[in-house]
Symmetry: C2
């Protein structure tokens, strides 16, 4: 077999990159782009076959191309909005002259699958149905990182479903969710995997969902409510600020001059107060008018939540002119006091401000802030305090009032109600029972197969190397022959190898003669195959058996070995 | 299963495109780029698994990326010379801003595999070895055509081998050749497949070899010597012009004025002679000096042969100035008579001219041609008559003196002695037994898996549709249920379906109720699964069995069916 462990002590930016490269599983062709060496391809194939088996229970496999004509992506305008989209075009003059066209290199396949599905489906009898593929995807990442966790070229399973109505979509959504958890179970990841609500993007007012594997090198922050087993991606986690009630005397309202004091950090230093005594007020443009959003100084505004609270289709930080017009001041002095009442402003005050006493706000006057504000005395509280803040560690889950558990997660999969976005763009309608034309509902469901290979290493390793779960290990048995210069030992080792293979067991046989025992053992630990068997002069008729996940070493007969491994 | 046969009567530019699209195997995303629908993916997977099984006997599978840094391709300068090479770069401003880099989209993987191999191999003990992959390739074809035969995105198996010396490379070359013929045998293509010599390109003075499947829609013209079973691609076929000897009286030499008469067609009309009476003389630049190449008027010069005859590294049609200087005339009047003797010209006269009498040549004088030239009388024959012509139908194989059989071929695979081209570029040396640094020899071996799917359809079809060989058929049995509104029949059909599946047989079950029998039968013929079984009211307890490749229909018991299919 081609490939070797690497002696280099070079550390890469993640555990999975370091161990997979040192173990001879992958080779880095460039940042975010890897070759799967024979050992690594075996693992990837096992992961993809588990995914395939589960997907075949609920869908039908096909294979779409990576190249697509630009026209398809212009239909949805995503050719202009996806910031990681690649194009393919001639690299040199000869090639450009031969064919000057440019194509999209798909990072996802809604633009390809929707017209195909449309071409095959004419009536309600054809719906619902789904198709999936396991294929290579391309993303022009600025900073690929963490080995197989975020690449420019990676393997992915993507499934697309098509439905006569939203209920059918919701039913299938649950089918896929269950199927995914079967996959995580077979991969040994179920206990670490959280079904987390995430942003629905442009597609839906509802959430999409991510399958987040708890993992220190993950990119996402997960807010988990243990009591009811509900998890959220930080970007959408509903939250209450903890310890909100403050017991202190009301102090006299004060207008403070502070030239060019803008931003919470500078302000806190200047006023010698904590961020929890300040507020942060931002002005937004939106399709429903100008919005004022205010959160406690130690929080940030969550635009997704603001958008939903305002029932807006879009929100965007207001331009300088708008801010000046609304506040009557330069940018940086907006506050909730003394806002004009004649401009139709919609004001959203976060609940983190609700219980504050003697708090600060911008004075809506250049270079001025107001301190020691108190509700009722200085300003009437709004009818509703909203949750428009970005959640942070320590926040409470509103339903239980208890603190979230927070941890990093790596997104292994996601499921997404696309609803009618793509069917609308591609005019994908069907005839219902009465012959009426109705729009098709769609869902999409991703699963990062190469990323999961990286996640598995992040989860299952120790100081010596990888500890593969049995279902994805490149081989079941790592057979090490020692003292192979001794003809008797060599014969025995070869015999055991053949017997194992004959029994249908996948064996990696280390029959190198020039390598010392210690190096063979550390290679075995690094590679992480579940069962290590050693045959040497010392072991006589028996075999030294060790599980990678345990320290115990047993001297057992071949039959015992076989039983244990086959079990 | 997703996908349907297409009713459209649209014909595509090839049998394979038409039948595969109509049959619901593939869908065209754009010219030269196809989606493999579930039915088609099953066929592709079967082909690739056959290839994989045979390759695993002689090599080790890995998976290289499609993206590569430009730097790797600059090492060999092929980034500037391959005229179908794609690059990948950001498609929109957002993406370009995020990452302005450009990457090569590999059309072949020598530039990727050589540094990987080098990084793992340090001594003679590591050699020889090989690796292969089955992967998606990209080519910026100007005019993709013939369905799966020539695409911009296609599936391919590519194998690369590494050797301590040229003999080891030659040995392995034969190993791969044998392995390929095992594959063709399993695909049902062996009897149509020819091992044809082709150009060695820049890599070798020897030939490379192509596995050409005789096929009317093939792009190559194959010259086959039946006596000794040797085949050549037209581009390298050695040849003798047939019926070369002419018996006629010598006529008087004549200089003919013909203003602007350039080119064989015009000349023949003007002189009222056949092209076989004319000669075509071209002036070339080369690394060994200026070459004069002359062939009979009905032939073209084969630059590859000329290069070899002249022992040149490169040849290129000479510039206008050179031609004027050499011939003393405008372009179009070069001939073999009266060439200057003081310019070091190297003259190559093709054997097709050897037996001519009273033939024409350019006069090396603007607007003049000379006719009725005869050897000895007007010009001394050269010491050697060369074979520098492009072979054409009817030509003789020089070894036997008998006419070639010629036919079109589609290249299903090729094997290529790369020798030291890439190891030199990447400084890939190894230490031999004595510690001396020696260059590594390499070979590359391609096999077009998706193209072979197209070739199979070209070979195995009739007026009604495809006739898949059993090893690659998407299913073994096409089970058609008729009269399924009858509960008894439906129960029986379902039972047979389950029994077949239970017996480990792949079954496509047409259980559609709304479709008429005739349509189901024509779908079955179009799809081309080897065994058609029909269960209907009429068949009672028996099953109507028909092989796709035969006309005969039998009414047999389930057990008989099973035996026949399992056999």
């Amino acid at each position: 077999m081609f490939g070797k462990t690497r002696k280099s002590s070079k550390e890469f930016d993640s555990v999975n990159a370091t161990l997979l490269i040192k173990g001879g599983f992958i080779d880095q062709t460039m940042a975010g782009v890897y070759t799967f060496l024979p050992l690594g391809l075996r693992v990837l194939n096992k992961i993809e076959n588990i995914v395939r088996e589960e997907m075949n229970e609920i869908s039908s496999e096909m294979l779409m191309p990576a190249l697509a004509p630009k026209e398809l992506w212009e239909v949805t305008n995503r050719i202009n909005t996806i910031d990681v989209l690649f194009k393919a075009s001639g690299v040199n003059d000869l090639s450009k002259e031969k064919n000057p066209s440019e194509y999209v290199l798909n990072s996802t396949h809604e633009e390809v699958v929707t017209p195909i599905a449309k071409s095959f489906n004419y009536s309600y009898k054809d719906l619902p149905f789904s198709v999936y593929q396991i294929q290579t995807k391309y993303r022009n990442e600025a900073r690929p990182k963490a080995g197989l966790l975020r690449g420019r070229e990676f393997r992915m399973k993507d499934l697309y479903s098509f439905h006569p109505d939203v209920d059918s979509l919701k039913d299938y959504y649950e089918v896929v969710r269950e199927s995914y958890f079967k996959i995580f179970e077979r991969l040994g990841l179920k206990e670490f995997t959280y079904y987390a609500a995430a942003s629905g993007g442009d597609f839906t007012e509802d959430f999409s969902h991510e399958f987040q594997v708890k993992c220190d090198s993950g990119e996402d922050l997960i807010f988990y409510s243990k009591e009811d087993g509900i998890a959220f991606n930080k970007e959408v986690a509903p939250c209450l600020a903890p310890e909100s009630e403050v017991h202190e005397q009301e102090k006299p309202l004060q207008e403070v001059f502070g030239e060019n004091i803008v931003g919470v950090d500078d302000l806190c230093k200047f006023l010698n107060i904590t961020p929890q005594k300040t507020t942060k007020t931002l002005i937004y443009d939106s399709d429903v008018g100008v919005l004022v959003a205010s959160v406690r100084g130690d929080y940030d505004v969550n635009e997704d939540k603001l958008k939903k609270s305002a029932h807006a289709k879009w929100v965007k930080l207001a331009k300088e002119e708008t801010i000046k017009e609304v506040t009557g001041a330069e940018v940086g002095y907006a506050g909730i006091l003394n806002l004009p009442t004649d401009k139709g402003l919609k004001i959203f005050i976060d609940e983190s401000i609700k219980y504050l006493k003697n708090f600060e706000t911008g004075a809506n006057k250049t270079n001025y802030h107001i301190t020691n504000i108190n509700w009722y005395r200085d300003i009437q509280p709004p009818e509703i305090f909203y949750d428009i803040k970005m959640a942070k560690e320590g926040d409470l889950y509103p339903e239980t009032g208890k603190p979230y558990e927070t941890f990093k997660g790596s997104e292994a999969g996601n499921i997404f109600p696309l609803n009618v976005k793509f069917s609308t763009a591609f005019n994908y309608y069907y005839a219902d029972e009465t012959g009426q034309q109705k729009i098709v509902y769609m869902g999409s469901y991703g699963f990062g197969t190469s990323r999961v290979m990286g996640i598995l290493v992040e989860k299952f390793h120790d100081g010596k190397g990888i500890i593969w779960p049995e279902n994805v290990a490149p081989f079941k048995v790592h057979l090490i022959g020692l003292n192979l210069d001794d003809e008797q030992v060599e014969t025995k080792a070869n015999k055991i190898y053949k017997q194992l293979v004959g029994a249908g067991i996948e064996v990696l046989f280390d029959d190198r003669k020039e390598i010392a025992a210690g190096e063979k053992f550390s290679d075995a630990d690094l590679i992480g195959i579940p069962y290590r068997m050693v045959v040497s002069k010392k072991t006589g008729e028996k075999i030294e058996l060790k599980k990678r996940s345990e320290e115990k070493v047993d001297l057992v007969s071949f039959e015992e070995c076989l039983n244990l491994v086959k079990k």
